[in-house]
Symmetry: C2
Subunit: 321 residues, 2 copies
């Protein structure tokens, strides 16, 4: 996407909310006294793992698919993602009964590919490099006329992801802080737009794996580094921050907390025990960030977006081998 | 409780709903396309594991405590339960700032006792027989003047548990069936009262462990057997059906499905994978009942009460030893 493309605005999030309303869940807000006690804060969790497809990603994908004209829609959509965005886009396309192409790198988890295929999407395999998957996407676009729906840099996706934070803030006015994970920055940029638009007194805190802290680096230095090699259990947060996402977060002045994987796994276990909710490491990281900075959050009302729950219960990271 | 004590009525459930509203959560309703596909039915889950204290038990305990006069309340409450009812009563008592005594049998899980003690209740240990715990309860009552709040036979408890089904039916009109687990029968009797009171076209189906199927037997033969020895992983469903509970369920004509533990464990795993919710075996049994009788539920709109989530994530029944 060219850098000159206009950034999504608060009104785009409101439009997205109306557009996805017939399809998406308004996910529940959960609380647990024990987690308030553990953090010293008053926490409310937005349970996006209970969203259709098991992650907030359906919001952005559904908004993007809903924005297409009938002529565009008939030619289908294409993306490159072997994770939650791939299956979310496949689900959104299936609901509109249009073709969906998903470019997946060699080595992607067979379970995730099965999820995408189960939604009726066509899989296109390629080498596990950024160049290879962009080339394959371009090839599919040329061959089919499908519209590219980028996992996090697409403005329709950013606006759609913003609806998660919109629902959170609408249902719990007066939050002191909202904490969301950051990977490519779709959810984070959407959250920044919404906070600016309707809750400027709320601070936005991004939780990022210490082993993939390119957003922290980019906001500190003022320039993105998309050549870094991520090393984290948070497979949903390995992508490097998108260009429009960077501009939105920089303009907003978002703060980033880097979190070690061990703390993320401990938070995941705590959420399962105390909130009875299974979440991915990429989601649990937001609670880990709050647990890791008690002084910042003590006594505050904090909203946490638990982004998704697509994790194999047989392979929890603390199970005996 | 004497058999002549009047049975709770629908109005008692409505009163209970108003009474507990300032304290209890209206728990969320969850759906998952994959579970609809697995059962051939349209399922909606009432997630009582997200209730305060982690189980529906808080509803009945809170209603019972709220019913007490100030003079009664000052003398406290007492019960015998080492499980969810014990900690729910302790929580309800703490919220009203009154004493709570919990009689616990030798051999009860230290983790569960810690939960009860953490709510500020006084623990009274006794031998692991029904006679011993009733004697100890009577002794505490004599010594303190505390009011006994029986885990499932108390009419205030039954009315309180009915509010879970009331919320479910109010939020999803037109259900063909409601499925709830049955142990002592507090939740089940409450559900029967509510179905009779506001949704007579909805059938009530009770899920009971095959290794503790005294309710199935009682409703078939017309007489209770409280001398049976339960053998099931569903530790919340080992109690024998209470006397008023039996009368209510018999009058209603509830149906019972017996479920093997292996099927319950499979359903527990499915709920964790597809609904991202950790539930106790005693809760998962309700989904197992639906999975085990596809013909009965195919094409139907079915509400399932997932009663609680108090289970140790480190000791899931399918983990490697």
């Amino acid at each position: 996407m060219p850098a000159s493309r206009p950034l999504p605005q608060f009104d785009d999030v409101l439009d997205a909310a109306a557009r996805i309303a017939p399809h998406a869940q308004v996910t529940p807000l959960l609380r647990a006294d024990a987690l308030d006690a553990a953090t010293g804060a008053r926490l409310v969790f937005k349970a996006e793992g209970l969203q259709r497809g098991g992650a907030f990603k359906f919001r952005g994908a559904c908004n993007a698919v809903s924005c297409l004209s009938d002529a565009e829609a008939a030619r289908g959509v294409v993306t490159h993602s072997s994770g939650n965005h791939g299956s979310a886009l496949a689900l959104a396309a299936r609901l509109r009964a249009i073709p969906c192409h998903v470019v997946v790198p060699e080595g992607a988890s067979p379970a995730k590919l099965a999820l995408i295929a189960a939604q009726g999407a066509v899989l296109h395999r390629c080498e596990a490099t950024i160049a290879a998957r962009e080339a394959m996407c371009a090839q599919v676009q040329r061959a089919t006329g499908a519209t590219l729906v980028h996992p996090y840099a697409d403005p329709r996706v950013i606006a759609g992801q913003g609806t998660a934070t919109l629902e959170l803030l609408a249902a719990t006015p007066g939050l002191d802080a909202v904490v969301v994970p950051v990977g490519g920055g779709g959810l984070a940029a959407g959250a920044a737009i919404v906070v600016d638009g309707c809750a400027p007194g709320t601070s936005l805190v991004l939780a990022e794996p210490a082993g993939a802290a390119d957003t922290l680096h980019a906001l500190r230095t003022g320039s993105r580094d998309d050549a870094f090699v991520p090393d984290t259990i948070c497979d949903g947060l390995r992508a490097s921050l998108g260009e429009p996402n960077f501009r939105i977060l920089r303009q907003h002045g978002a703060q980033v907390l880097a979190v070690d994987d061990a703390d993320t796994i401990a938070a995941m276990r705590l959420l399962l025990a105390q909130l009875r909710l299974l979440v991915e490491p990429s989601s649990a990281i937001a609670l880990a960030a709050v647990l890791g900075d008690r002084a910042r959050f003590a006594g505050k009302r904090v909203g946490i977006v638990l982004t998704g729950g697509n994790v194999d219960p047989s392979a929890l990271p603390w199970s005996a081998p």
